[in-house]
């Protein structure tokens, strides 16, 4: 009985992130438009785009190989699995033990790996630009992320997200320097990973500035839809990751009743909204940086993460 | 029967020398040469089983019996090699039949001299024998009558003579030291007597004596800085002689040195010969290792490698102790076999390529696979790589030394490594890469070479217990 309930919760969780993902993207766009005094597209626009794309036929470049066609599904699978393993409104998810935070990062990493490959598959110059810049960014972002994980894991005594979240919710946490550093680093990494301003601009198609867009330049139809969806999922993932680790309020424990769950979901959506709003504000208030400034940006993140870890190693009180 | 075998070891070569000097005709003399050396070898081998009592002049004991067998064996294989080698020399007219007769006679005289030096129980006789061997080799080195050959022979002759003089003075001093104890006359030069009574000898005299003997016989061993004659003599003489020089004569001289080392070792008051030998050994090793780099003549290069290995052996004997002595004896044997085999290969290589310049050889494993791989095998063996015998001896030397005096072991390892690098640097140009120079097939008998390699290989894997017991006795003997 309880098992079935857990199954149900896990399923709800997976569907929830999947459904909310385009909404969050739309919301961010809307807020940005508003801040720019524009009307902006309606909130539901991303859904419409996705559906239209799915209906369209795929125009496959001549040079494209079988890899090019399966990559979208791979990316989607990896991102979705990763996202569905992050506690959103309830800890102790049924399968949370099947992959800890490191594994989740690695899953995202494999998504990126295949995306970069796809970028090189058709054999155009832009794909190459995108891929090489993407891996360069990743080669700094991933270690930074690992360092953040170290810090949090050393505080919580676990890399298991549910356990970490529960610990974070408990009063044992207190205010710590290393936590602050980790949060700062995590935000920087999240911005880079999702290709937001100032690292990358999801809206641009200016050849020399784009990274993510350049990689997916050759995609069309359902493939493009899946990739967009995965990107949205990734954004949700990071926001909910930050939420469950740093603002774990109203995160319901395992075996909570319906009412609590509803409350938890509400709180989660609220967190997403706040996160999206902050992101939009941040993006509108800053300019995109040159590609070769990015390493310094991410290097800073890596250093912050390393510093936090070192503090943890040297003494538990930081 | 007993003393017959011993007599045979000396008389067969002497007799053969006379006959060969008289006899014309290449084929028959070459064959006879082989037969004589074979007979000598057999009678020497029989010494293992029937050991005569030591006399006033001759002696067979654990130490020299191994050397005798080794010497006669290598002498035999070399004569086989020289048959095919000299044939080619006659064809291209580097040698005339007259010189050939001379050559074969001298070869036997050399064998006689070396055997005599080994079985001599009288330090005077030993001295005479070694000098005889030296003079014979001088004549054979000069046999080609080319400018370089004469030059090398002359150099060898002059330096050798000074060595002779020093060694003689040392011998006289030993006699002087012995005389008050042993009494005048022959007895005071009989080694077996000396070694039993040496503890009572005057240490100061013994010291001076050893210094002179070390320099005198050390010149023959080719220890740096007394080595100057060795590379040129090897490079300019006929290759069989280079093989015998490296494989045997150096050993014989070192054997003489060992006898006197034992003499000093018995006397507590005398200075320990060990440090001197260790120093000379290390100097020779490192020096030769560096000299290998700039060699352009293949035979000269391997001559320097002989100096290097003599250095290692002397070092090991100087260190002393059962392990090191065992290793040194093993190394001595392995080096004789390997180095002579290498010279067999080198001789044919030089004949095929028509030159001794390393730069003019190349891709030998392509053009003459058997010869090329034989040479590679030889260098691998001499560089001390498993599973060949020299690896075992070097293993024992280095490991046993390092535990006792790390500093020396470090120098030793350094020298070995430097020499190793140099050898393979040259081997790469000779055996690999694009073929260079003439690529005619060699008319050669590879049997001696591969027999040696087979022995070295087996020794690297398995040494028969009898031989081991032998070596261990000797190692104890040497203290």
């Amino acid at each position: 009985m309880a098992l079935i309930a857990d199954f149900a919760v896990q399923g709800v969780e997976m569907l929830l992130v999947l459904l909310l993902a385009p909404l969050l993207t739309g919301f961010v766009r809307k807020v940005k438009a508003r801040l720019l005094r524009r009307q902006g597209a309606p909130l539901m626009q991303p859904y419409r785009d996705l559906i239209r794309l799915m209906r369209k036929e795929v125009v496959l470049a001549e040079g494209a190989s079988w890899l090019f066609r399966i990559v979208p599904y791979l990316i989607f699978a990896a991102t979705w699995v990763a996202a569905s393993l992050v506690p959103t409104f309830r800890t102790g998810l049924l399968f949370s033990w099947s992959a800890d935070l490191i594994a989740i990062i690695a899953l995202l990493g494999s998504g990126r790996f295949f995306q970069a490959l796809a970028g090189m598959d058709v054999g155009t110059s832009f794909g190459g630009i995108g891929s090489s810049r993407e891996v360069m960014i990743a080669s700094l972002a991933e270690p930074a992320m690992i360092m953040i994980v170290f810090t949090l894991a050393l505080i919580a005594g676990s890399t298991q997200l549910s356990t970490m979240a529960e610990f974070m919710a408990s009063p044992a946490v207190g205010l710590r320097v290393s936590l602050a550093l980790a949060l700062l680093a995590l935000i920087m990494v999240a911005i880079a990973e999702n290709g937001r301003i100032p690292v990358d601009n999801p809206a641009t198609h200016l050849e020399l500035t784009m990274v993510h867009e350049a990689m997916v330049l050759e995609y069309s139809g359902r493939h493009l839809a899946l990739i967009e969806l995965s990107a949205a999922l990734k954004l949700v993932l990071y926001v909910s990751l930050i939420a469950c680790l740093f603002v774990p309020w109203e995160l319901q424990p395992a075996g909570a009743g319906m009412a609590e769950l509803a409350l938890g979901i509400g709180a989660y959506i609220a967190k997403l909204a706040v996160g999206g709003f902050l992101l939009a504000v941040f993006e509108t208030s800053i300019a995109k940086m040159r590609v070769f400034r990015v390493p310094q940006f991410l290097g800073a993140a890596l250093m912050l993460g390393l510093l936090a870890t070192l503090l943890r190693f040297v003494s538990g009180s930081f | 029967m007993r003393s017959d075998a011993l007599a045979a070891v000396l008389l067969i070569p002497a007799f053969a020398a006379v006959v060969l000097a008289a006899m014309p005709g290449y084929r028959i003399t070459a064959r006879l040469n082989i037969v004589a050396t074979l007979a000598t070898f057999i009678s020497a081998a029989s010494l293992f089983f029937f050991r005569p009592q030591p006399g006033a002049y001759l002696l067979v004991d654990d130490l020299n019996s191994t050397f005798i067998v080794l010497t006669t064996f290598v002498g035999f294989t070399t004569s086989v090699f020289s048959a095919s080698y000299i044939g080619h020399e006659l064809e291209i007219g580097r040698l005339t039949p007259t010189f050939l007769r001379f050559y074969h006679a001298m070869y036997q005289v050399l064998m006689f001299a070396m055997n005599l030096a080994l079985v001599a129980n009288n330090i005077g006789v030993m001295w005479v024998a070694i000098e005889l061997a030296t003079l014979t080799t001088v004549l054979m080195v000069g046999i080609y009558r080319t400018h370089e050959a004469l030059e090398a022979a002359w150099k060898y002759f002059i330096l050798g003579s000074v060595g002779i003089a020093l060694a003689l003075f040392g011998t006289i001093l030993v006699y002087m030291a012995a005389r008050p104890v042993v009494g005048e006359g022959l007895e005071a030069m009989v080694w077996t007597t000396l070694v039993t009574r040496a503890s009572a000898f005057d240490p100061a005299l013994l010291n001076v004596a050893f210094v002179f003997l070390l320099l005198g016989y050390g010149t023959k061993v080719g220890l740096a800085p007394l080595h100057a004659w060795l590379p040129d003599a090897h490079a300019e003489g006929p290759t069989p002689i280079s093989a015998v020089l490296s494989g045997l004569l150096l050993n014989v001289a070192l054997y003489a040195l060992l006898r006197f080392k034992m003499l000093l070792a018995v006397n507590p008051a005398a200075l320990a010969p060990g440090p001197l030998m260790v120093t000379l050994g290390l100097i020779s090793l490192v020096f030769a290792a560096f000299m290998l780099y700039r060699r352009r003549d293949i035979k000269r290069m391997f001559a320097y490698s002989s100096i290097e290995h003599m250095g290692i052996i002397t070092f090991a004997f100087g260190m002393g102790g059962p392990l090191a002595n065992f290793a040194a004896l093993l190394h001595m044997t392995m080096h004789s076999l390997t180095k002579s085999a290498i010279f067999f290969a080198v001789g044919h290589v030089a004949q095929v390529k028509g030159t001794q310049r390393i730069a003019d050889m190349g891709g030998l494993t392509e053009t003459n696979p058997v010869l090329g791989w034989g040479l590679v095998l030889g260098v691998v063996a001499i560089a001390g790589m498993p599973p060949l015998g020299i690896f075992m001896s070097e293993f024992l030397v280095v490991s046993s030394t390092f535990a006792r005096s790390p500093g020396l072991a470090i120098i030793l390892v350094f020298g070995i490594l430097v020499g190793f690098a140099a050898l393979f640097l040259r081997l790469n140009t000779i055996a690999f890469g694009e073929p260079r120079g003439p690529t005619a097939k060699a008319k050669a008998s590879y049997v001696p070479m591969f027999v040696h390699f087979a022995l070295v290989f087996v020794a690297g894997i398995y040494i028969p217990p009898a031989l081991v017991a032998w070596f261990e006795n000797v190692a104890k003997l040497l203290g």
Binding site: - | I158, F169, Y175, L186
Partner: protein, 220 residues
Amino acid sequence: MTGIDFDIAHLLAGTLVLLSFLQLYQDRLYALLNVFALHALVLALSVAWQAFIQDAPHLYVTAALALTFKAIVIPVALHRIIVRLGIHREIENVVGVGPAMLAGMGLVALSMVVMLRVTQGADPLAREDLAFALSVILLGLLMMVTRRNAVSQVVGFMSLENGLVLAATGAKGMPLVVEISVAFSILVAFIVIGIFLFRIRERFDTVDLEALDRFRGERR
């Protein structure tokens, strides 16, 4: 052995050392040869004396050999060679006579020190003889390495060998002395013949190593 025997032997040995110094001092070939002949003569005398006091008749053979061969035959032969090869008569030194003499002094002192460490128990005649012999040997070697001229180097070698014979005969009752002296005479003969054959005009040096280098290309 009585004191007078000892003194005479001692005197002769000392004379040999003195003559070695004289050889070092010479700077003309003929003079050098003459001094060497004298050297050999004194050696013959001392050997004969030893034969007498040790009543070892076989030593007389050695003495005779030294007298005939070294004191007469060789010097004459060398004279001939000098004339034949037109070797000019000056002796080229590596170091001047003065320094050579000083070095000789040092060597003699050294040999004395080394030899006199021998315990008193040993036969004094042997000790003194050995000391002198060693200094003769060392002086001979010194001559070989300080003279550029082939003939003078041969002379050096021979006086070295005289020292050996002196030591050998001084060693009372030593066997094989005669054989050894014979062997050495042959050796010396070889050298002289060699010089003659190879037309070594000036010095061992010019049996060219340059030739070696040219042919073998060893020099970089």
